[in-house]
Amino acid sequence: MNKELLKKSQSLIALFALCLVISILSDKFMTSSNLWNVLRQISVNICISVGMTLVVLMAGIDLSVGSVLAFSSAVCAGLLSKGISIPSMDLFIGFTVLGGVLVALIVGLLMGLFNGWVITKFSLPPFVATLAMLTIARGATMLYTQGIPISNLGSSFEFIGSGWLLGIPVPVWISLFVVLSVVFITNKTTFGRYIYAIGGNERAAFLSGINIKAVKLAVYGISGMMAAVGGILVTSRLNSAQPNAGASYELDSIAAVVIGGTSLSGGIGTIAGTVIGATIIGVLNNGLILLNVSPFWQQVVKGLVILLAVIIDQKSKKKA
């Protein structure tokens, strides 16, 4: 019983240990301003990683989240700053912040659905299909922005990424809402059970009557939409859409999922674990910066942590 509890809590223990070590080595770590800053930064990765968790739970992978983030946020910024002009009808369609955000979410959703469609329709490995989307979306972002950042998106949009609500940064509220929603989906709905069932044994799930294609389509759609949420947070924080935004975010989100205990072969994992994983990555990034570790070493350390997490995952599976 104790062993089981210890195994379940290993990510949480690792997070506490990491916090303890960094707070001993740097007196700035435990300051409230730094901790709020860490929470604000990890909010983006939490949103993306939550979507990624659903994909990985189905034994899939989504490498396109960083590029989807960039494209959806670029579209959002473009509509907010320039709207749509139709000269032949002497018509200008302007977008409010709500409009920009909704369009970004729809763009993310559609790109995710496209991933799901390609994977289910042509039976392509998710790795290949989403890798293709990674380059398509990045290229589309460059085409749309012409490689130039889209700036000055207004103070009301900036509030989403930089504002405070009831003493807590707005991105933290948003990520909390996202996490609770997905926890509800995975734990309290049949759709959530289907995701675990497909990841556990796809053949058995199919034979038990689950519409695998529909579930996969929906899960990749959710993953794309979560990437768009991350894009909105990043863009509003900077008040500018950067063409190279989100580069390598897919790796951070996969790392968060794996460190959080979700099995890459599917069927096992929790959203809470992913939140802890994303927090570990965020704290690690912050700690390494506070300790003046070179950015090159930061990459090495992060890679080693991911490797360690996967080794632990494999070992625990063998024991089971």
Partner: protein, 198 residues
């Protein structure tokens, strides 16, 4: 019932997401916004060419050697808390040789300086001129947009036109921006704002 509620929500979201205007009205309201091109043009033609008081480079160098703090406060302009500042300077000399994008000028005291529009101008001319203040703009992006347009006026219009009239051996006065540091003397790189044939 569910469909009706869904439809109401969709209508509410769409109504609060977009607004429609005549394109002509939108263009008119856009054009009534701050015109950076016109502003940069006036800063150059009415400000830099008429009001800016450049210091002779040789005099500035003497002052920097004698009293750095005074040279920085009297002739320089720095926006941040760093050690560097921009100065508007002038040099008199002879055109030594010409290239597509500039020329080399040999001053009366024998120094040779490259004058070229290929250099990165950044905010040098805007800051050296002391004519544009950060507090006049709502955002840093707007403030930097002035530099962008000012650099366009200088690099695309003014200097190329002036360069086309120059030949080797001409006597010229070059007014331009340089960057200097309080800590260590930086190499002199003059970013031209105006070239006058003497």
């Amino acid at each position: 019932m569910k469909k009706v509620i869904g439809l109401v929500i969709v209508c509410f979201l769409v109504y609060n997401s977009v607004y429609f205007k005549k394109l002509s009205e939108q263009s008119a309201s856009e054009s009534s916004k701050f015109n950076f091109v016109a502003y940069a043009d006036s800063i150059y033609n009415q400000g830099i060419l008429k009001q800016a008081k450049p210091i002779a480079l040789a005099d500035l160098q003497k002052e920097l050697g004698k009293n750095t703090e005074n040279a920085f406060s009297q002739f320089g302009n720095r926006l941040g808390i760093g050690q560097t500042a921009y100065f508007m300077v002038s040099v008199d000399g002879t055109v030594l040789n010409k290239t597509v994008d500039g020329f080399e000028v040999k001053t009366t005291d024998g120094n040779i300086y490259p004058i070229d529009i290929k250099f990165i101008f950044g905010n040098a001319i805007r800051d050296a001129s002391k004519l544009v203040k950060l507090t006049d703009f709502k955002t840093n992006a707007d403030f930097n947009k002035v530099s962008e347009e000012l650099n366009n006026v200088i690099r695309e219009k003014a200097i190329p036109a002036q360069l086309s009239t120059l030949t080797v051996g001409d006597k010229v006065e070059v007014v331009g921006a340089i960057k200097q540091s309080k800590k260590d003397a930086l190499p002199i790189l003059i970013l031209p704002a105006n070239i006058t044939k003497l």
